[in-house]
């Protein structure tokens, strides 16, 4: 018998019972049918390969399930006695099952994805050019996802002697990196670093250490646009991380298989080394997590960071010790007493406790250099600046003030990415800010006598990024005018340059209540944009403290994703003049409309609760409230021109021109 035939015989033998085959072929066939049915209805948002969340879960689930089905025999003493007494190498049985599980995934996956590709190519002409690359990428990416979860499963079944630790170990492996990064490192960073906003390295670690997140990035789960999905290529970092998640467990379980002791089946770990490593990792995580949680919940670090850190370290060391004792009790065997077992690995125990305790200390030690960090000017490619409450509405302002807020701030950092004169001005402003406020925590804006906080992103010439967040006081805000008043910043804020680049722009005047389409010639559009550009150039940040907008010129275009508006202030005299020439009543406000009713609702601090709503319909009341009212749409500078946000208004306006009723929202002035 040749060795190839011999091996194939055992690959075939691994399929006895056909559970793996039924599971894999059945699930993927079901997916194919459902996806084809959905593709028949919608080829724009339904993806069968990259971008398919369903396929991601199926591949990850099958990877885990098939690994457990194929290698469950490693945890069954009867089966082990049976297989290992047969005239066959243990190697052959092991790898025969590996190939069997792999084949029963790859073959149906290739068939299913290819069938879906052919099906969509018949339905969608736009998909045709991408059909082969998209299908191929999908097969490769989802095979990689399967291999990650398959190998992790085999690894845990190889090192464990019991199903319970194998399952728990698998689950913990999926979450370990995320817990370590998010609940330990980030918590300690937030606690110790006053200027902390986020650390890109930790974000990358969070992804590459979490198989599920990584699989999501590999298979484009963060994409929704069809074109992006079709052209998606995962980043090199993610591809390398996936390769590591595939090959490292492969290497480890290959070694574990050799060293595995059959007689340890039934115990928690089949390998003494695995027992030690698991104890170290779990004790460290328990201690470090517990310590950081204690510091976060106790709030000690807010009053005294050093005391908080020391207390956290002590709690962490004690929890690491407790976890070690618990694990010793779980894995313990033989006649030795627990007290003797605890001390059998004294140095390991000391290492676990010390590592758990020192994690927080490490962040405390680095706090000073983190907070006072300002990069070398000539190494900075771009500086992104976001001041909470500047160029955003009140709701955005409140969100931006929240701890760890990402959406609003990120949007502004991307928008106000300064590379020219704005960068120089911003760098100078930040340098002076760091020397003043670097050691004050940005979350304690009010406590520090500040008015808001600024988030800064340094994008370096080598591609790396650094984020810092500082509180700002009134003086800092005023001095920010040196940045705000640069042409670069204003061009970004007021979009004049961007609008000019669109040839088919359509203009429409909006005063917050009604819209008026402007029928302008190309020359009139150019003239309007020129006037607007000149007004923006002349304006200063201080003007925004005194005036609210009059309205907007909404600009729309056929160009993809283009929809912008030009904010028109009363001090934009050139723009207002031209708009007047084009028939727009720029001075027309809410008071010029027929207001039928106003509801005023009291809002608690930060808009958490709404109480005491009153409805006004009497003319004198309406007149008084109309004078007070400012449309929510005009609330663009809550920091520079704050309104009375404790009273929200719902205003019913009669539009005589269209004989219709319009409802608009507002705040009291």
């Amino acid at each position: 018998m040749t060795s190839e035939k011999y091996f194939l015989k055992w690959v075939k033998e691994a399929g006895r019972g056909h559970v793996v085959a039924f599971l894999s072929w059945g699930v993927l066939a079901g997916y194919a049918l459902m996806t084809m049915a959905r593709l028949g209805l919608d080829t724009e948002s339904c993806f069968f390969g990259i971008g398919s969340q369903e396929l991601l879960w199926i591949c990850a689930g099958l990877g885990a399930a098939i690994s457990f089905l194929e290698y469950f025999y490693l945890l069954q003493p009867k089966k082990l006695d049976f297989y290992h007494s047969l005239p066959v190498r243990k190697n052959t049985i092991f790898w025969g099952r590996y190939v069997h599980g792999l084949l029963h995934f790859i073959i149906p996956l290739v068939l299913v994805v290819t069938a879906c590709g052919l099906f969509e190519a018949n339905l969608d002409v736009d998909f045709l050019p991408y059909s082969s690359s998209y299908t191929g990428h999908g097969i490769l990416a989802f095979t990689a996802v399967f291999l990650v979860f398959y190998h992790i499963g085999i690894f845990f079944l190889s090192i464990c002697g019991n199903i319970l630790p194998a399952i728990l170990g698998y689950a913990l492996c999926l979450g370990y990196g995320h817990i370590l990064v998010e609940n330990v490192f980030v918590t300690w960073a937030e606690t110790n670093f006053h200027a902390y906003y986020k650390i890109p390295l930790l974000e990358k670690l969070d992804i590459v250490l979490s198989p599920l997140f990584l699989a999501g990035h590999l298979t484009g789960q963060n994409l929704f646009d069809k074109q992006e999905v079709l052209e998606y290529v995962p980043s090199a970092l993610h591809v390398m991380a996936v390769a590591a998640w595939i090959f490292l467990p492969l290497l480890l379980f290959s070694m574990a298989r050799e060293k595995r002791r059959t007689e340890r089946v039934g115990r928690m770990f089949a390998l003494p080394l695995a027992e030690r490593v698991a104890m170290v990792l779990l004790s460290f995580l328990s201690g470090a997590w517990g310590g950081s949680l204690f510091v976060e919940l106790s709030g000690l670090s807010k009053t005294c960071p050093v005391a908080g850190c020391v207390a956290g370290a002590l709690v962490g060391a004690m929890l690491a010790l407790a976890a070690h004792v618990l694990l010793e009790w779980c894995v313990g065997s033989g006649k030795k007493k627990l007290s003797a077992r605890i001390l059998r690995r004294k140095w390991q125990l000391a290492l676990e406790c010390a590592a758990a305790a020192l994690t927080g200390m490490f962040f405390l030690a680095g706090a000073s250099s983190f907070d006072s960090f300002v990069p070398e000017w000539d190494e900075v490619e771009e500086i992104g600046v976001s001041i909470a409450g500047l160029d955003m509405d009140y709701e955005g302002y409140m969100r931006a003030l929240e701890k760890g807020e990402q959406y609003e701030t990120k949007r502004q950092l991307d928008k106000y990415a300064l590379t020219a004169e704005g960068k120089d001005a911003a760098f100078a402003w930040i340098t002076s800010l760091v020397s003043e406020n670097g050691m004050t925590k940005a979350d304690s804006v009010e406590g520090a006598g500040g008015v808001s906080k600024v988030t800064v992103r340094y994008r370096m010439k080598n591609g790396s990024e650094f984020y810092r967040q500082y509180p700002i006081g009134e003086g800092d805000l005023q001095s920010f005018a040196s940045v705000y008043d640069t042409d670069e910043y204003k061009d970004i804020a007021y979009l004049a340059g961007q609008i000019r680049r669109v040839s088919d722009a359509r203009f429409q005047w909006s005063d917050g209540v009604t819209d008026t389409v402007l029928k302008l010639t190309d020359e009139e559009k150019d003239a309007l944009l020129d006037a607007y550009g000149a007004d923006v150039e002349d304006m200063g940040m201080e003007n925004l403290r005194q005036h609210l907008p009059l309205g907007f010129v909404e600009v729309t275009s056929e160009a993809p994703y283009f929809s912008n508006r030009m904010v028109v202030y009363p001090f934009f005299t050139r723009t207002c003049g031209l708009l007047g020439e084009y028939g727009v009543e720029t001075e027309k406000g809410l008071a010029d409309y027929s207001v039928r009713a106003i509801s005023v609702t009291d809002v608690s601090e930060k808009g958490m609760a709404r109480t005491n709503s009153k409805h006004y319909e009497e003319p004198d009341e309406l007149e008084a409230w109309t004078r007070e009212a400012v449309l929510k749409e005009f609330d663009l500078q809550p920091l520079l021109f704050p309104l009375d946000y404790s009273r929200e208004m719902k205003i019913e306006v009669r539009d005589e021109a269209t004989n219709s009723t319009v409802y608009v929202d507002g705040y009291a002035r």
Binding site: K78, K79, D81, S85, P87, R89
Partner: protein, 346 residues
Amino acid sequence: MPRKASRNGSGLAFKQGFMADEAEPAAMGRTHGEGYKRRACRKGRLMIKINDLTKYFDDVCAVNHVSLEIGDGTMLGLLGTNGAGKTTLLRVLSGVLEADGGEIRLDGEEAPFSPSCKEKLFYLPDDPYYFPNASIRVMADFFGKQYPDMDAESVSYMAESLNLDMLQPIRTFSKGMRRQAFLILALCSRTKYLFCDEVFDGLDPIATEIMKNLFRQEMKAREFTIVVASHKLGELEDVCGNIAILHKGGVVTAGDFRAQAGNVRKFQCVFPLKAELDGIRRHPQIVRFHEDARFITLVTRGDADEILALVNGQNPVFVGEVPLNLEEMFIAEMEGAGYDIRKVLS
């Protein structure tokens, strides 16, 4: 799958095997005396050599420096209490467990657990595994793929003879029927060596006798060496003359105890009421002294004439020699070697 024709006429041997036959024990153990070895070597070549075998389960020494030599065509019984190391020794011998020290050689092979070498051995554990819903036929087909000499025809014949349905799932069998089914499969795999754990456990007396006869017939028909483990001496008494007693992982004693027990004799005596028996009781050649009123049972070692003279000096009403059973031989051997056999075999 085509069935293989039975070789060496073993099918016929099975057919004849239901008739009782005498075992010809010829194993040898090394530990207590070279005499065992010499006697065993007369019967067959050394086929299994275990030298200083050690197996630890953490701090527990399950097999403690065991050395045994098992000749070809012999049947060795491994006897011991629970935890004595019998099953561990069999699992190490069959390649399921890896030894921590020592050496095993099958037919002189240095790598006894290579697939080609393992084709020569069949390990039948106490509670063997079978595929879910598998019948005897399915298992026979499976073993047929593993063991090149598997005799599927004999499996059918023997199963039919024992009223076992070849197509019925094994899971529906009683414990005894399952045991019979696997003993059939083990015998029909036609391996050179068979290692059985608690071999007759669960079998009724008739099935036990049938199986013992099958073993004897198979050993007669071909070169077939069997190592069986049991904690019941009675099970092995009439089928294995060669016994190795394990205690706490080590071999207490091993060999052909019928041959060894030649100088051990058993007497039953009845004495008058006034007889003084202390001299007999305390005599160093008395292995066992059991007193039931004036009815005395004596087991002696060495020259019995001196004891008989002492006995006759007390004017016994009756003195007669009776044959020893295997258990008594063991007790004599073990106590002679300084062990309290009741602790070993209890």
